[in-house]
Symmetry: C2
């Protein structure tokens, strides 16, 4: 009948030790699997642990080891498809490795917020940090902040780097653009993401590269904001110009909005204008027309980021994680150019 002391707190290691008739140190060895314990003692300890339902105290452990077995994630735009998938991948990988995942979400992506978020995580003594905020500010903020903790950045570009998990979105954009070019379109117009996002520049770069590879001068970019409404507004600028026959939108949401605007303006997709999106969001297959788009396995990217962090934490010097590669998903929103005869080897035979 002890008083309120130890109220609702579980048994301690020393309790287990007493019950098993060993030192608390032996209990520690068994619990942590450090080895060097005789089968007899191990058995007694395990029995006692089970009987008392002993669980080790993470704070005490963290205090003694100076490790928390948790990683921090700085995220922005969780509502977006890519980031939320990636987060799920991270959490999953972390769980399997015995780490917990601490989430910090950003309200703004200016350098100050970024630094504050990272500082927050550092204050929480996380063992590693994953920055899931693919914006320019993240890069500059990270350059300025000194962090004594392994840190990995999601980077939607082409350049591998020890501190980055790369989704090769320039290649993805190139795939999309080349696909349209292969369909005979003389050029491809681009509805880009908003400035300040790494994905925006990467996709612009890929689009431009594909064009220039064929000696085509890239037309002016129309800048959207990732939303369907933004895509619709952008497309309004394109819809009046009868020479535009192919549009590459930097994400599926904008593609969706663009398609609506184009159709409403009498420029039928895909008959008059072809549209290719980016992301392969759920449901894009059921758009009208079904959206031709570029898919990335963001969950896989998340898993790689977590895995990479663990290697860093373990003190390894892993090479840059391999880039996550895009896949072109051909559906119905892009067809050959109306005035172009194309060889019959193409894949566009859906509506004979």
């Amino acid at each position: 009948m002890s008083p309120t002391t130890r109220e609702s707190r579980g048994p301690r290691m020393i309790d287990v030790a007493r019950l098993a008739g060993v030192s608390h140190q032996s209990v520690s060895r068994v619990v942590n699997g450090s080895g060097g314990v005789s089968p007899d003692i191990r058995d007694r300890v395990e029995r006692a642990v089970a009987q008392l339902r002993y669980r080790r105290h993470p704070a005490a452990r963290a205090l003694a080891t100076n490790r928390t077995f948790s990683i921090g994630v700085v995220s922005f735009g969780l509502a977006q498809y890519g980031p939320s998938e990636a987060l799920a991948g991270i959490a999953r990988e972390a769980q399997e490795a015995g780490y917990s995942t601490s989430l910090t979400s950003l309200l703004d992506v200016d350098v100050d917020s970024m630094a504050a978020a990272v500082g927050h995580l550092v204050d929480d003594s996380v063992d590693g940090i994953i920055v899931l905020a693919p914006v320019d500010a993240a890069l500059t903020a990270m350059a300025g902040v000194e962090v004594h903790v392994p840190l990995v950045l999601f980077y939607p570009g082409a350049h591998a780097h020890e501190q980055r998990v790369v989704t090769d979105e320039v290649q993805g954009a190139e795939l999309a653009t080349t696909h349209l070019l292969d369909l005979g379109h003389p050029t491809v117009h681009h509805i880009s993401g908003p400035a300040g996002w790494l994905g925006t520049s990467a996709r612009v770069a890929g689009w431009r590269r594909a064009l220039e590879a064929r000696g085509i001068h890239p037309p002016a970019i129309v800048e959207g904001d990732w939303t369907a409404a933004g895509g619709a507004a952008c497309a309004a600028q394109l819809a009046t110009r009868t020479e535009v026959s192919a549009v590459f939108a930097a994400n599926d949401q904008m593609a969706l909005g663009a398609i609506k605007t184009l159709n409403d303006a009498g420029r039928k997709v895909p008959d008059d204008v072809s549209v290719v999106g980016f992301d392969d969001i759920p449901g894009s297959e059921y758009f009208r027309p079904p959206l031709t788009t570029v898919r990335f396995d963001f969950a896989e990217a998340g898993r790689r980021a977590a895995h990479h962090i663990f290697e860093l934490i373990a003190g390894g010097r892993p090479g840059p994680a391999g880039p996550v590669l895009p896949e072109l998903i051909v559906r119905g929103s892009a067809r050959h150019h109306p005035l172009t005869v194309i060889e019959q080897t193409d894949e566009q035979r859906r509506n004979p």
Copy 2:
């Protein structure tokens, strides 16, 4: 030139105390704002804190106070729109309250996985737990698990409860169904979510209630799986029956799939059959036709859940959190019944 000891670890409270010429206890008072400190000492301490860039050590603090200032979130289906929004809301509210958010994502929703996830969080000594897994298994698992920690469940039903944050989805479904009924449709068919989800039963209940309020016997339910593909498959069963004129899909993804199937089958939406969705996912305004649907502020629900947890942690006995209410978003996918004359006060005048 101390050896590798204290390597990469910041200053301790005692270091601050020494620099300020006070006891470590006074530093503690200042840092925690406990009061009872003379202005002089406070000032010296704050100066020393700033100079050394002192940050308190959360593990030590947790050990001494038996509180971690972190909450755990058990989540399932993060890829879904609702949960990911809610998670962002939770994280935000937690941050503002000085709590960190620890994420555990579920692979399966059977009772064992649920119990394991909660156990995991309890092992991490979180101060409170939010279960963001609106499935039946969560309810039964929670009933079986004994947790000595404040716990709040997301509950997409109608019943308020001290341990629940309610999104009144039965009212949402009722709104959708009644809207269709008001448009003159003799009955409303339902494409439901998969069994095992609380949201599924809630939406079925609301749909049924609306029907029965008018003395209509609910027709057979077609069960989907939340995906557009599932919705498309379900709609295939409905498309052949010319008497079905109104469909309420349990989420927007399924509505999207259903619309495609119906249109492909020659049953034009909204001319021949009306469709209403649920969730108001991004882009649903740009579907063809723009989707009439039901919106919930899931981020707000997340914030309420976090807020509620904090009150529980503080030892209060807050009443049940108020339910998050639905809003009907009328767009173009539902029209009056083709054979019904409706008063011209209705809102369906988009395409004159």
